[in-house]
Amino acid sequence: MAGEPSRERTDGLGRIDRRVTRRQALKTGAGIGAAAAAMQFNVISRRSVRAQGATIRILVPQGALADGLTKTAPAYEEQTGNKISVEAFPYQDLQTKAITLAQTKSGEYDLYFVDDPWMPNLQPDINAVAIDVEYGYERDPDIFDVCYDVFSWPPPYGPVPQSVRDLGLETHQYGLPIVGNVILYTIRKDVVEEKGLKIPETWDDALAVAKAVTDMDAPFYGWTARQAGGNVDSIPILWSLGGDILDDDFNVVLNSDAGLRAFEMIKELDQYAPPGSVTYQTNEFAADFLAGRAMMGMTWPGDTLVAMEDPAQSQSAGKLLYMNPPAGAPGGKGASVLGNWGLIMNAFSTQRDEAYDFMTWITSQEHSLEYAKNGGVPFRKSNLNDPELVAKFPWYPAQAEALAAPPKWRPRTSAGSEIVQLYGAAVQIMISDDLSPQDALDQATRDIEDFMATAID
């Protein structure tokens, strides 16, 4: 091949001088520049693709979580001519369906609503599109870092499963936050004032407040909790008291002094809970607040807070204070649980560009206000501090504070969801069958270890 004569030469000691000529340097530079320009053009052209008439299919959870998206989507349809087709499934079915579709490499949906603990099961590096690579997506500083981090894979920090580490993957952005959920401690501030109590700083304070206000005959309950399923809502107590389910190497470390103290606290709090609350699901839990018979509990912005703050249906409306969970000890800091949902683009979608266009549109600054007004759970700092929105949704400042903290995420392993479920089952049986906290800890440890023996991390 004819070309530029090389200046390559040896220095007599076996070393090679590979300095290039100016022309070679210019050619190389021009080549790189052209490639970069082409990539940029590719990104710009892809971002501007709005093939009119496309139908973008999205798998979402049933209930209020997807309200913001479904109510805001018509504006997108009008603007672009594309259609948004949403299919809703109950939580458990959605998890199974999303993961099964991914495993079968189905292109049935373009976008998935994904709860953050499902990320490891989804195997994003195979089944989702890295939008930072494929579309040059750049983080928006108005969105909390943790909301991006939780939809990056492999996790940018914290424990990473060995099987994932072995793959030597680079961390990429596989989704955008769509529901900025984080668990909040919620308490009736009017009752605190009326009884001359203090807002709890620690879980011991919370227990004392629960004891002081409970009147089983009225009835008015000092504590209420959603306990069916994984009992995720009790995890802030465990974390705030210094306990955890797994350590950084995914060993089960629940059975510790801190774990025991947490289980004791959960059991003691339950003495002031409504009878039968051990089987409470979300609606039953919210009903206590709606009826004005609950003092405190752990709430998720995406679940029932809109109803709880609606004077037409809630006797607790306007009387609730939201905050980060109490600490384990005076001067300490409480830990919250992250529960974000993300929009993940299916790697097997045949309409990637259209899907990307919609996911960036719905999560953009420009449309976020409308999204929040339509019932979407914000993940942007500007929305959560917007005075107009805060007046309507009073938990926003607490949500912003919790997201900035940042909250912890649940174990980033494909076994994570089930591990939390087994933890929750032990907590539930401790309360329902009056098991001792130590026995419950033993059961949880045994069950989780049994489970992990056959699980892929």
Binding site: V278, Q421, Q428
Partner: protein, 308 residues
Amino acid sequence: MSVRSLPLATNRPGRWQAVQHLWQIPEQRLALLLLLPSLLVVLLTMLYPLIVTIRMALSSERGQFVGLGNLTRLATTNIFLESMSFTLRFSAFVVIVSLLLGLGLALVVNSIYVPMKTLWITILIIPLMVSDIVSAVVWRLMYHPTIGILNYALSLVGLPRVDWLGKSSTAFFSVGIIEIWRSAPFFFIMLYAALQLIPPDVYESASVDGAGGVRAFFDMTLPYLRPVMTVALMLQFIGATRAFGIIVGATEGGPGRATWTISYFIYRYAFRAQQMHFASAAVLVLVLLTIVAGVLFFRFVWVQRDAA
């Protein structure tokens, strides 16, 4: 219409010989050919999944062959053993109570003193038409600790509230009652139909011989009902071992893991925990349990018939 009979064999033919004989007759050959597509569909839809399940059960989640490793691990997995124990206790409780209830209802409705039989039958079989999940949700509301109608009824007569689904001990019976509510009508309709087939002269002869009502029931009615009863028992036992919808709808396996059946264990491990291979081993155990139950029940029927 002419009817051709099979050539008589001097010795009792084997199954393959019987097929060969069938093949020699044109009409039978046509019948066999017509059956072939159905047979293929059955083979594909039953045999293929079974083979895949066996293959998965013999390998680890990473796809390495582990032989009986998953099955032996099941034998030492506390959650599975407790699920198995619950399943067997639950199935036995459900079928025995449902049988007694169904039999009692069938005898009552069959009685000459009960008017409007069609209306009663229609009302009694309504639970059969309600789906698992709907049944579970309706009963869950009735069991609700504070707003449920059952606790309200108890409070009317001054009895304390019961946490129907909130304790392991009560959850067992509460979930069992939902399953019985759905299962007893099946026994009722099967046994009622069987009662219609008992010739009246049997009872007339018994009466002539001086047999009273109780004696006639045990000596005449029960033997006539036994084959139907046994088949119904087998079907319901197998159904109860597979209980899933009721569990998901009523308790989600709780409190804790107190109402995990084997089916629920399989669901949790296969679809929630993504341990398809380990769950496949549990599927094999469930299939084996079903086959053993089926064989035992059928053996009971054939033994009774041969003895008769």
